[in-house]
Symmetry: C2
Subunit: 243 residues, 2 copies
C-alpha cells in the first residue's frame, strides 16, 4: 500500500476517464473514447493547503486548473488596493479561463480549504481540442457559460438589494452542491462573511444581518458556517418579487 507501484495505480485511477467528476468537468458530454484521449492531457495534480494560492494576478498563464477536491475563491485586485471576490469554485469547475487572453492571470485564486486540482496544460488542450472536435465544442461551451455566469453576477450587483443577493447566493450554492451529490439543504460555508460580502458587493455586517433576518423568518438555520435551508421556496420568492 506504500510502494511505488501502488502510487502509480493511484494516479491512474484519477485520470479523467475514471474520475467521478467527469460529468461536471471538462469531459462533460464526451464519449468514452474521447475522454480516454483526455487522459493524455490531464496527468498532473497539485495539492494546496488552505490559504495557499494557486496563482496570482499577473502570473504567467500556462494551464487551466480543474478543482478535484476542496474549494477556491478568485479575487480581482484594483490598482488602489481594493479587491473583490469574483467567484467561488467547487469540484469539477475549471479555473483560469481569464488568463488565455493576455497569457497572464487576471485574478488571484486561493484555496479556502485543503484542496487538489488537476492541471490542464493549455497548449496541449489547444492541440487536443484541435483534434477532438467535441472537446473543442465542449471547451467553447464552458467559456460561454462562464460569460453568462458573470453576466448573472452583474445583474445581481446592479439591480438586487442585500437580501435578494444573499438569497440568490444561497440558492446558487445549494444548486451546485446538489449537482455534486451533496445535500441541497444543508452545507458548510467555506468562506467568511467578509468574503461573501465582497462577492455580493456588501459589507460583512450587512451579510450577517441578512443571515440573522433569514433565520428569524424561518427561512434558514445558520450557526457560524453551517447553513441549513428550511424554506427554499421562500428564498426563491424573495428573488422573484416585483422591483
Amino acid at each position: 500500500m506504500s510502494n511505488a507501484k501502488d502510487i502509480s495505480i493511484q494516479q491512474l485511477k484519477t485520470v479523467c476517464s475514471t474520475c467521478s467528476l467527469r460529468e461536471l468537468c471538462l469531459p462533460m458530454g464526451l464519449s468514452q473514447d474521447e475522454v480516454d484521449q483526455l487522459d493524455n492531457l490531464v496527468y498532473t495534480r497539485r495539492r494546496l493547503k488552505r490559504g495557499e494560492s494557486l496563482y496570482r494576478a499577473g502570473d504567467e498563464f500556462t494551464s487551466l486548473n480543474a478543482v478535484r477536491t476542496g474549494f477556491f475563491k478568485s479575487t480581482v485586485v484594483f490598482e488602489d488596493g481594493r479587491d473583490q471576490v469574483t467567484g467561488f469554485h467547487m469540484p469539477g469547475e475549471v479555473m483560469g479561463l481569464d488568463g488565455i487572453g493576455t497569457e497572464r492571470h487576471a485574478v488571484s485564486t486561493i484555496a479556502l480549504e485543503d484542496s487538489e486540482v488537476c492541471i490542464i496544460p493549455y497548449s496541449r488542450l489547444e492541440e487536443l481540442s484541435h483534434e477532438v472536435r467535441s472537446l473543442q465544442n465542449q471547451f467553447h461551451r464552458m467559456m460561454s457559460r462562464e460569460i453568462v455566469r458573470d453576466q448573472g453576477v452583474m445583474m445581481l450587483l446592479g439591480t438586487m438589494r442585500a437580501e435578494e443577493r444573499l438569497a440568490a447566493f444561497l440558492l446558487n450554492l445549494s444548486q451546485r452542491f446538489t449537482a455534486r451529490g451533496y445535500s441541497a439543504s444543508e452545507f458548510h460555508l467555506r468562506m467568511t462573511r467578509e468574503e461573501i460580502g465582497s462577492y455580493l458587493g456588501l459589507k460583512l455586517e450587512t451579510v450577517s444581518r441578512a443571515f440573522s433576518k433569514f433565520q428569524d423568518q424561518g427561512l434558514i438555520a445558520v450557526q457560524q458556517k453551517h447553513v441549513r435551508i428550511k424554506d427554499a421556496e421562500g428564498l426563491r420568492k424573495l428573488l422573484g418579487r416585483e422591483a
Copy 2:
C-alpha cells in the same frame, strides 16, 4: 454605380481581408493568408435600424455578429421583469458569445443607431477554427477577454461609488473610441442616461448629477449626448484614490 455588378463588388470589398476593422475584430493578429480564409466564413451582413433588435434572449443561437458600423447595447432580463444593460458594443466588437453554451441567446441585443453587422455562422467558425490554428487561438483569446471584461464590470459594480463608476465608464469609452481612430476627448453618446445608469447600477438621476458635477469641476463639458473630456487625468485620479 447602381448595377448588379457594382453591388457585388461592394460586397467583395467588405470581406474581412479588406475590412478596415480587421485589427480590432475577429481577424486580429492573423496573417494575410489566414484572413483570406475568413472571407469564406463571413459573407453575409445585416442592416438594422435604430431600436431594432439583433436577437432576443431565448432566441436560438446560430451565429456570432461583429459590429461593422453603428452601436449596440445588450441587456439581460430577469424573471420579474427587471433588466440591466450588460454591455455596449462598437465597431469591431463581436456579439453573441453568450449563446454558445446553451445554443440560445442569454441576452437581447439592440441597435442604438442605424447599424450594420457581419454575420459569422457559428458552425462554420468552429469548422474553420478547427483548420486554422491561429483562428482557434484568436477565438479563445476573444472569449477570455470577454470574461476579464465582465470581471472588471463586477468590480465596478461591487466596489465603486457613483462618480467613480461614471469616470471609469467615460474613460473606457474614450479608450475604445481611440482604438478606432476617433477622438479620445470628444464623442457622442449613443445611449440615454437611463441606459448608462442601468449599465452602471445607478439611477438616471444619479448619472445626470454626476455628469453635472464633473462639468462643474471642469473635468468634462457635456451637452446632452455630446461629451468632451477636458481633464482625462483628473478623471483617472477619481478612480485611483484610496477607498
